[in-house]
């Protein structure tokens, strides 16, 4: 398969030189790369982001089942169900016996309508207006799965059960396997900001992108017979609203605890660059898929485990091994760094990292005009 337009020479950020100010490498032909950092310690699972996205982009017309932004409980099977096991992305260079950054593209599996969850029709009309005594519930066949079906289930045993929320959008990857999977090159990375889009004119509904994205962030619209995905709210970024204001994606602005930072990875004065490249505490989800995501997560902490008497014991509640499964080996250093800096502040010291993670300055948090 020819894939020249999507071929990149990006190197994975090894993260060994903290604070060394390594310049970011972007995908070939991309001038700047939009990026997002989500601090998982702040997510309350309220789904405001999900609803903001849904009302903006995916309300109808074959998009009923789609959540370009979803929030899933971890540990959990996620959206679509078991997406982490469906394949896609690239093999590692070692697996493929190559000297490159990564190996061959892996063909993934197409999630079924049941995996995504069918959109439910509710009896709103009957209950709210026609005086029916029925309870409000999905109509039609009894649902057996849906987005967020295993909400708050998590893992572990009382009193040491644990879970956290993981909001997910398309990662606008530096090396998007969705784009490489398309024989028509209908998916492309915008030169100006690296946003990954599906050209609706070129798409012929083959769905190689859907099975090619290891994060399952491309959706198929059965009515238009074309693929669709998160667009990083580019019309908002381009100030296309009535007030001509540049706005970050709706999932970010609507978030009650304001846990998302939006800007450019290569904006060296911005908090994203500092958190990802300098402090190395914002990490890629499943780096082993080798698509080089541009959404980064600050890994979650939880209170330590309790014994039967409710006394704190010195054991971490969320097993490191699980966090390592999600965020790779770097998670250990990231958590240690945050812990160290937190203690520094507790002792009355100053910490740039803590400042970055707790800022309420919107101008710092949203820097989409950094290069204008």
């Amino acid at each position: 398969m020819s894939s020249d337009s999507q071929e990149t020479e990006t190197e994975t950020q090894t993260g060994t030189e903290s604070g060394a100010g390594a310049t970011v490498e972007l995908a070939d032909g991309v001038e700047h790369q939009v990026a997002m950092v989500m601090d998982l310690n702040k997510c309350i699972g309220c789904q405001t982001c999900t609803v903001a996205c849904k009302t903006l982009w995916t309300e109808g017309g074959g998009r009923e089942y789609m959540y370009w932004n979803n929030v899933e409980t971890k540990p959990g099977r996620g959206y679509p169900r078991d997406w982490e096991e469906k394949g896609g992305g690239f093999e590692s260079a070692e697996q493929a016996n190559q000297e490159d950054v990564h190996g061959e593209r892996e063909v993934g599996e197409l999630p079924s309508a049941e995996d995504w969850g069918r959109p439910w029709e509710f009896n709103h009309e009957d209950v709210m207006y026609d005086g029916s005594d029925e309870s409000l519930r999905p109509q039609g066949p009894e649902p057996e799965w849906g987005p967020n079906w295993d909400e708050d289930q998590g893992a572990g045993e009382f009193p040491n059960s644990y879970y956290f929320y993981l909001p997910r959008i398309c990662n606008h990857c530096t090396h998007p396997s969705c784009a490489e999977a398309c024989p028509r090159k209908a998916l492309y990375k915008r030169e100006e900001d690296g946003i990954v889009l599906v050209d609706q004119e070129r798409c012929r509904g083959y769905r190689y992108c859907v099975e090619g994205c290891p994060y399952n962030k491309v959706h198929f619209n059965v009515l238009s017979k074309k693929s669709e995905k998160c667009i990083f709210c580019y019309p908002r970024k381009e100030a296309e609203g009535p007030d001509d204001e540049v706005r970050p994606p709706a999932c970010a602005t609507e978030c009650p605890p304001q846990l998302r930072l939006v800007g450019f990875l290569d904006d060296e004065d911005g908090p994203i660059y500092k958190l990802v490249e300098e402090w190395e505490v914002a990490l890629r989800l499943h780096p082993e898929f080798h698509t080089e995501p541009n959404v980064y997560y600050v890994p979650p902490f939880a209170p330590p485990q309790h014994d039967d008497e409710g006394e704190t014991v010195g054991v971490e509640r969320i097993p490191r091994t699980y966090l390592e499964e999600l965020f790779g080996e770097q998670v250990h250093e990231a958590l240690d760094t945050i812990e160290r800096e937190r203690e520094r502040v507790e002792r009355g010291g100053e910490s740039e990292l803590m400042e970055l993670l707790t800022t309420t300055d919107m101008a710092e948090q949203y820097r989409l005009e950094a290069f204008e």
């Binding site: 074959g62 089942y65 024989p183």
Partner: protein, 280 residues
């Protein structure tokens, strides 16, 4: 007449028999392997748009073998349809081509079932006819190239049609204002799909194949089985065939065969005459 008379006659007779025996089968199967005959003005021509209509019963058929296309898409070698039966007929205004093939499952987005939640894993059965955009060129079988474009008539279940232009895999682009219509039927495990192309088109030779009887027209066929997730380059395709639409209704192969027969007959007559003269 001498003693050796009968034996000479036997030789002559044998020669004639051998000649006929050699030529007769060629006459019967006069159609070259990759020719798809085009019936001119068959009876009931108005009914040709009906995919399962009787009008098609009177049009000769060509069985064309299909095999998995060479392609870089996943599972390209996994295709399920092995042959397609092609019938073609021409009227004053149109060329009709009917493709028929066996497929145990009709993968169609059935009208009337729109309220059923459509399935994101459904792929639709489809078929296509590929012709050189310029009939004097010989594009590669895999959708031509940017210099030798192909014109593709595409049908997808239950009944969407598109006219496409392509210059290599992954480049198909719809041609505006299609001059191709399709109709399809599915019965007892067999799809019949009729493609109708108006003979006169505006941009013939550029984006659209010229079908005006000036030359033979190369044609290749493709079928996708939706329930096997076939789409894009995962398809069963034929080699290049041709419609004998060039000058002379019989086409060049017929003429050649007739000349051979005539030549052999003349040779036999000459030999017979010479032998006869020698003996008198």
């Amino acid at each position: 007449m001498t003693d050796d008379g009968p034996s000479t006659r036997t030789v002559l007779l044998a020669l004639a028999v051998v000649t006929v025996a050699a030529v007769a089968p060629t006459l019967v199967a006069a159609r070259p392997a990759n020719e798809i005959p085009v019936e001119e003005d068959p009876p009931d021509a108005e009914a040709l748009a009906e995919p399962a209509g009787d009008a098609w019963g009177r049009v000769p058929a060509a069985d064309v073998a299909l095999a998995s296309a060479e392609s870089s898409v996943p599972n390209a070698e996994d295709t399920s349809v092995e042959a397609v039966t092609v019938r073609a007929a021409q009227t004053d205004g149109s060329l009709f081509v009917r493709l028929s093939w066996d497929d145990a499952t009709a993968d169609a987005f059935t009208p009337g079932a729109e309220n059923r939640t459509p399935d994101v894993t459904t792929f639709w059965d489809a078929a296509a006819i590929q012709l050189p955009a310029n009939t004097s060129a010989h594009p590669g079988i895999a959708m031509g190239s940017d210099r030798t474009m192909v014109n593709v008539w595409y049908w997808s279940a239950p009944n969407t049609s598109q006219e496409l232009l392509a210059g290599g895999p992954g480049t198909t682009t719809p041609v505006g204002d299609p001059a191709v219509q399709t109709s399809a039927s599915y019965e007892d495990g067999t799809w019949h799909v009729v493609f109708e192309r108006t003979l006169q088109v505006d941009d013939a030779g550029e984006n659209r194949t010229t079908i005006e009887g000036e030359r033979d027209v190369d044609v290749a066929l493709a079928v996708w089985n939706g329930s096997n997730a076939e789409r894009s380059g995962q398809k069963a395709v034929s080699e290049w065939q041709y419609f004998p639409l060039g000058p002379g209704a019989e086409g060049p192969p017929y003429a050649t065969i007739l000349w051979i027969v005539a030549g052999l007959a003349i040779a036999v007559v000459i030999v017979a005459t010479v032998l006869g003269v020698q003996r008198t």
